[in-house]
């Protein structure tokens, strides 16, 4: 409930907003609304402009409220009274009488733009005491029309309780409508009723929405003015169609969605006159998925997918490629693959069929041309769009699983997911492959499906609603901005080698290599590297492998291996940019995938922090070192190195440098010069009168005398005149400090 309310809260469509879940919403949202208005008034009160979007609506509703039956007032009064008595004591101590703030307008009248600048009216019944009671619940809603929505159920006949009822749900109108729909059953009539009400404000300009209660004709005339029709004149078939739509609804949420869709649909149909010409019995039902909330029957999903497989490819494709007004409505295709079981595919339930149908329709009414025009290469794109709406972690998790599974098994991956699913499940045998192209023109088929599906519409939801919140909360879902992990692309490229090209648009599966190929690629790059030592080539190949992995959202041990390999190659050649990129990725990857080299790369990170002298990061890294990691020979070495470095113990530092495990020495090379320089300064300052070059060479870990001498002369060190194997410390020290 709460989720639903939250979703709808931002819609400015308040008059419709009071649906069945309105109760909770009315509780929760008015506060925000009011706060927002108060805030708006703060900024606006300066130049005393009192315009607010809600102002508008409130004033419209005013007159309507004023004509409400006195029974309502009485009831309200009683209601208030009750509350008042309950709360009086509590608020007695409140220093200001309510009137002080809110001079009472006649009930329901628009509040004059007062000193507080709260737009809209504050409607309180005139209680005998003349003082408005402080009612924790009611008071907050007073500035919104939604307030009415809360009130109405109290005095309306019980069967009237339904979404969209609030504003127009006057009892008189219901009666007036009856004759028009005499042939309908009660439920349908009610819905039809509702539909018409919804029709009105949707078609009318906002200011015209001022129905006088009980006068249906007036309402519909104003509202449908654009189409020059009255509800009475609407074709019977259309009415029946509307009724059918609502009968199909399984829940209140569905009804709301249907209302919205129908409103748009009917409006356009009426306007262009096609409402009188088209065959309404063949008109597909609106897509209930438009506003799929987190509420949904869990088991339904798999069944639906199963059905989709067997039947309505077109609908699915259309729905996928069609205009997605609401991203939340998209079911990610990968979810279908991971959730659908083959066993369920043979026993479709009515609901699933219906759901599929309704989605089908959506594509119809919305973007037929779109779906028929689309070709395979577009698939990944739309798929990603779908993904975007879903929980990120969820999409990613699924995407990974699906990609992994497919990368190995399938060759024709670029056929698009749909077909692959068909192949996999075996159901698609009768219509595999190019069906997507074949079936885009068959109105009869469409109608047949429609009527078939209609048979199931009366069935109601049997499964309990389950809040699917966990979908968004999968473990180890590391989110990195707009992640590639969300798009389950599977490559089809079979080339072992591929040049790296920075992606500027959505990746094309035809140019992406699946994992099986990438494994070969990695081996090929490794052998090439060993024999040729061609870094440019290796780097480019590794980058393209990395890219293919990223694009396909693959985060497995193989990914770790790729990054480790590239990191090592980059390290060997001193390409720190690539090395760091790999390190960053590895750090994240190690959280998910185990590797024997965690210690090695942790030690590289520690050493790198020494290089950057980043004591802050170094400390942070130390915090996360587990005892096991500390025991790792690489890490232990790095820690010792750090210790020696921190204390300026160059002797120990260079000893460790000489005994660096794995490729740590390559990394230390990066700053060994700097450390030698520092150490030399200390040596020159310390020793008197001279120090042998040999000592410097061994202390500073020069491999041979020549390189040491080159280093010394490079710094302008002076040797003693008598013995060139010794350094004149005093003179050298002076010259060194001036450097």
């Amino acid at each position: 409930m709460a989720a639903n309310a939250a979703q709808q809260a931002p819609t400015p469509n308040w008059p419709y907003g009071s649906n069945s879940s309105g109760e909770s919403k009315v509780h929760e949202n008015p506060e925000w609304e009011k706060a927002r208005q108060a805030l708006a008034s703060i900024s606006k009160s300066q130049n005393s402009t009192k315009t607010s979007p809600t102002n508008h609506t409130t004033q419209q509703t005013g007159p309507y409220q004023a004509t409400d039956s006195s029974a309502m007032q009485q009831q309200q009064q009683q209601y208030y009274q009750q509350w008042y008595q309950q709360n009086q004591q509590q608020y007695a101590g409140y220093p200001y009488p309510y009137n002080y703030y809110y001079p009472m307008p006649p009930y329901g009248g628009p509040y004059p733009p007062g000193q507080y600048g709260v737009p809209g009216g504050y409607q309180t019944p005139a209680t005998p005491t003349g003082q408005a009671p402080a009612m924790p619940m009611m008071e907050d809603q007073s500035i919104r029309p939604g307030y009415q929505g809360y009130q109405t159920p109290a005095y309306q006949p019980p069967q009237q309780q339904g979404p969209g009822q609030g504003l127009y749900g006057g009892p008189g109108r219901v009666d007036a409508k009856k004759p028009n729909n005499s042939n309908m059953n009660k439920g349908g009539q009610q819905l039809w009723q509702r539909m018409k009400r919804d029709q009105a404000p949707g078609l009318a300009s906002p200011t015209a929405t001022n129905p006088s209660p009980g006068s249906v004709a007036a309402t519909s005339t104003t509202s449908t003015g654009a189409a020059q029709t009255r509800p009475q004149d609407w074709p019977q078939a259309m009415k029946e169609y509307v009724q059918r739509c609502f009968t199909a609804c399984e829940s209140e949420e569905d009804k709301d969605r249907t209302e919205k869709v129908l409103k748009d649909l009917l409006q356009s149909r009426l306007q262009d006159g096609s409402a009188y010409t088209i065959d309404w019995t063949r008109e597909p039902l609106p897509d209930l998925k438009t506003k799929q909330s987190r509420w949904e029957a869990v088991p339904q999903r798999s069944q639906e997918n199963a059905i989709g497989r067997g039947g309505a490819t077109r609908g699915r494709l259309g729905a996928r490629l069609g205009n997605y007004r609401n991203v939340f409505s998209q079911r990610s295709p990968s979810s279908s693959s991971s959730h659908s079981s083959r066993s369920s595919s043979r026993s479709p339930s009515p609901h699933s069929r219906h759901r599929d149908r309704s989605r089908h329709h959506r594509s119809d009414s919305g973007s037929q041309s779109d779906s028929s025009m689309s070709s395979d290469p577009r698939l990944p794109l739309s798929r990603r769009q779908q993904k975007g709406g879903r929980g990120r972690g969820a999409g990613r998790e699924r995407g990974r699983g699906a990609a992994g599974e497919r990368g190995r098994g399938r060759g024709k991956a670029n056929r698009g997911r749909r077909n692959m699913e068909d192949l996999a499940s075996g159901i698609g045998k009768k219509r595999k492959g190019g069906n997507a192209g074949l079936d885009f023109h068959d109105p009869n088929r469409e109608a047949k499906k429609q009527s078939r599906a209609a048979r199931f519409h009366t069935k109601l939801r049997t499964e309990p609603l389950v809040l699917n919140i966990n979908v968004f909360d999968l473990p180890n879902g590391t989110q990195e901005g707009l992640s590639w992990d969300e798009c389950p692309i599977v490559g089809t490229c079979q080339d072992i080698t591929k040049n790296y090209l920075r992606l500027t648009c959505a990746p094309d599966p035809a140019t992406v290599r699946p994992i099986s190929v990438l494994r070969k690629s990695l081996i090929a790059v490794k052998t090439h590297w060993k024999s040729n030592q061609d870094y440019l080539y290796a780097c480019e190949q590794m980058k393209s492998i990395r890219q293919d992995l990223t694009v396909q959202g693959v985060r497995t041990d193989f990914t770790v291996e790729v990054y480790e390999t590239h990191a090592r190659i980059a390290l060997e050649k001193g390409d720190h940019e690539e090395f760091n990129q790999c390190q960053t990725q590895l750090k994240a990857l190690y959280k998910d995938c185990s590797s024997d080299n965690v210690g090695e790369f942790t030690s590289y990170r520690l050493i790198y922090y020494i290089f950057t002298k980043n004591s802050g990061d170094l400390t942070t890294e130390l915090v996360y070192l587990t005892p096991e990691l500390r025991a790792d020979p690489c890490v232990a070495h790095a820690l010792e190195l750090r210790n020696a470095w921190a204390l300026g113990n160059f002797h120990r530092f260079f000893k460790l440098y000489q005994n660096a495990p794995r490729m740590a020495a390559y990394l230390i090379d990066k700053f060994v010069e700097r450390e030698r320089n520092l150490a030399l300064r200390a040596i020159l300052k310390t020793f008197r009168p001279s120090v042998p070059v040999e000592y410097v060479q061994s202390s500073l870990a020069f491999s041979d005398l020549d390189s040491c001498l080159a280093f010394l002369t490079g710094l302008g060190v002076t040797f003693t005149p008598s013995d060139p194997s010794k350094i004149d410390c005093k003179v050298s020290s002076a010259s060194l400090t001036t450097l």
């Binding site: 473990p475 204390l647 300026g648 002797h651 150490a679 009168p689």
Partner: protein, 367 residues
């Protein structure tokens, strides 16, 4: 107050705004105010909650319209404080679920704070009394808290510069200045500028309100290592008073030149020190400990020409692993280079020759 209705609450807020009562309004808008406990504000979906925050921020931005006044600063303070705390909690929740990039939430919060800061800093009106610059230090302190948490100390630099060049820097409230100096002192410590670190942290410590024992303890955690590096050892009573006995052994070891004890103490409280971020600083105390140890050797031998072997024996006594004469030279070289020992090493004779006058100058005069 606890049972205030939302309407009453909003009225009070409005009234406070109308009367330009920034402090009261801030109190009202803060998440510490009891109105937050109102059950109707407890929504199940957290996105909604942030809406309140959003409301407040809309409000804050509307204050940009109040070009000529600064009465609303307390409101901004309350809002930014809440923002940071929320970001912190969000971060922790995300981390506990293993989701999200580390520091992402906090960085976003910092962005918001920066935009507030820019508004304040760009207030160039002449009048000091109603200048929005009075809001700078508070915002900077909030930003510091975030930057220190996410290890982005380099981002502090422009902020510090802004305050340094401000003519108000000594006129902010003591509380704000204490916080500010605490963070700047810590930053100086990480940058190995111990003199400045000592100055700032000492200011913080002496000006911190006596009732804020927790804050004083926090300051001491950083002030102590800095002081020790500069040769000032804390007394036992002080450590006891602030429950910082983790430092007791360290202090003892350093002043005695007991390298062994120091190593033991550091290992023993390693987690605490690392968590506080001072482990690497305390490690530098080893250098001081070497100095004190060698000073003892010097006093024992009572000569100015000290054989290097003597130091080797001393180090081996302290169970320094696989130490050799070259390393002794190296350690001595460092001490001489840093100025802890006045003298030189004769490589030829393998001796340390120390100055006849004051061969081990007091630590406070060094560095």
């Amino acid at each position: 107050m606890a049972h205030i209705t939302l309407n009453q609450y909003l009225q009070q807020v409005l009234e406070a705004i109308d009367s330009r009562d920034g402090a009261f309004c801030a109190e009202m808008l803060s998440f510490k105010h009891p109105h937050v406990a109102n059950p109707r504000l407890q929504l199940s979906s957290p996105e909604e909650k942030s809406m309140h925050l959003h409301c407040i921020f809309t409000m804050c931005s509307s204050f940009q319209a109040h070009k000529e006044e600064n009465w609303a600063l307390p409101i901004m303070f309350a809002a930014t404080l809440d923002l940071r705390i929320f970001a912190n909690n969000a971060e922790q929740q995300l981390q506990s679920k293993g989701k999200g990039k580390v520091g992402d939430m906090l960085e976003k919060a910092a962005e918001q704070l920066m935009s507030c800061f820019r508004v304040c800093a760009s207030d160039n009106r002449a009048g000091i009394d109603d200048s929005k610059k009075w809001g700078m230090l508070f915002l900077i302190n909030q930003l510091f808290k975030i930057y220190f948490k996410i290890n982005k100390l380099h981002l502090c630099k422009p902020l510090i510069r802004a305050i340094d060049s401000s003519n108000l820097k000594d006129d902010y409230s003591t509380a704000q200045r204490v916080t500010y100096k605490y963070y700047v002192g810590r930053k100086a410590m990480f940058d190995s500028d111990f003199k400045q670190a000592e100055e700032y942290l000492a200011f913080s410590f002496t000006h911190c309100h006596r009732s804020c024992q927790r804050n004083k303890r926090l300051i001491l955690i950083y002030l102590l290592p800095v002081k020790m590096l500069l040769g000032h050892m804390p007394t036992h009573q002080l450590l006891k008073k602030y429950d910082l006995m983790q430092f007791a052994d360290v202090t003892k070891a350093v002043s005695e030149g007991n390298l062994l004890l120091l190593n033991e103490a550091l290992v023993k409280h390693e987690t605490f020190f690392i968590r506080c971020g001072i482990f690497l600083i305390l490690e530098k105390l080893k250098i001081i400990t070497y100095r004190n140890l060698f000073k003892k050797v010097y006093h024992l031998l009572k000569t100015h020409q000290l054989p290097l072997d003597a130091f080797l024996v001393a180090l081996k006594m302290m169970k320094v692993e696989d130490v050799d004469i070259d390393e002794v030279q190296c350690i001595l070289a460092n001490l001489i280079y840093m100025g802890h020992i006045k003298g030189y090493i004769s490589h030829q004779h393998q001796k340390l020759v120390v100055s006849k006058q004051n061969p081990f100058p007091p630590l406070s005069s060094v560095s």
